[in-house]
Symmetry: C2
Subunit: 238 residues, 2 copies
């Protein structure tokens, strides 16, 4: 709903099927129900972790929103948004798993870092795929990020190399929407300047970092699964 998209990862989105009203209300229900279940479980450390991450995520989304059409966005600001609006969720998921399995404080911290790297890799690929894949394959409209004013790494990288592209993006930003042909034109330029390749390379770096973090002492089967997950997030085709 937040990105007004009728599709989400290949399936119809909730707001597309049931409208905004039901989606907001049922979303609130799921959120509050999750907290209710955690409270009845009574693990204060878990509650702290999960209330911190939901708050960080909400902050991250607001941060991204405040950066709408912020054309001066640097690569490091871009990574900050990614960490705060996406990667903290992956971080919390990994951390909670280790905590619930009664692992040592050191393992919990390591798994938190693994999740953070996994999340950054995942989001960087997402940002690249928005300029790369065909709509049918993506399961959502492509070239949608810029349309919503989201300045992501592939675009930042390409704009640094291509003044014509930068001028065009400024024009789109001032108008606030695409004109006919803009979507395809921008997409070709971003790909031609290897903005997408740059984001994918960074995604692979983060995935490798995630894999190196996996504790030597972990069971081989578990290690392999977590390593595969990191690989998938940086190599997925959709």
């Amino acid at each position: 709903m937040v990105d007004s998209s009728d599709q989400r990862r290949g399936s119809p989105s909730a707001n597309g099927v049931w409208g905004n009203q039901a989606s907001v209300l049922v979303g609130d229900y799921l959120f509050s129900r999750a907290f209710q279940m955690m409270v009845s479980d009574g693990d204060m450390a878990m509650l702290k972790l999960m209330s911190d991450v939901t708050n960080a995520l909400a902050e991250g989304e607001v941060l991204q929103l405040s950066r709408t059409f912020h054309l001066e966005m640097t690569e490091s600001e871009c990574l900050e948004v990614i960490e705060r609006k996406t990667a903290v969720l992956f971080k919390a998921a990994s951390e909670v798993g280790a905590h619930a399995a009664d692992q040592s404080a050191e393992t919990v911290a390591t798994m938190a870092e693994y999740g953070m790297c996994l999340g950054v890799a995942f989001q960087l690929m997402d940002d690249a795929l928005d300029y790369l894949v065909e709509a049918e394959q993506a399961g959502k409209p492509v070239g949608h990020d810029l349309e919503e004013g989201k300045i992501t790494l592939p675009l930042i990288h390409a704009m640094q190399r291509d003044a014509v592209l930068a001028a065009k993006v400024e024009e789109i930003s001032e108008r606030g929407c695409y004109e006919e042909g803009d979507r395809e034109w921008v997409r070709e330029r971003v790909t031609a300047q290897d903005g997408t390749g740059c984001a994918m390379d960074r995604a692979k770096d983060y995935a490798e970092r995630a894999k190196r973090l996996l504790p030597e002492t972990a069971e081989v089967e578990v290690r392999n699964l977590l390593a595969e997950l990191a690989d998938f997030s940086a190599h997925r085709p959709y």
Copy 2:
């Protein structure tokens, strides 16, 4: 945002000013921030109370949504929706106050009941005012409840007495929206059949019940303030 209204109690609504996206995200932020603060306070009883009430509220809103244009709604179903989507919030507010002030379990339970009655009175007045006051005075569009398919007590009461009104409401329900003149016509019929008077009388009953619940042992000043609050909720002109 849930009722797609540009105004809320006389002021521009958040979604009216900043749009849906910012409103959802900042709403999520405030919700998660509140939980984060409660977790850091560390009072498990408070956490249970607040996670229960937020979940009940979300359920109540979904319940109301599932009753959209449910013309067979009875008065008791209507009161159930009111309790679950509004009154539980008032209940929790009163209960938390007593709990935080280290009152006895008996006083906490009594104050919870006071809050419940206060909330029902408040909502019944809200439902009456939707058919009664002028838009400028209400600070939001009037006759909006039926437009959104909300079947409230004034309408239920009036439809039981007025077959022509009932037929008209069925027609509006099938069409899913007002035609020109419908809003004023329905409003006049509901007022003429004293649907609004009936809802206001019920509101006053609940307010009186709330006042009777106030502990004899409470400080006079506090008792008076809480009694005034109950009176206001059932006598307010807007």
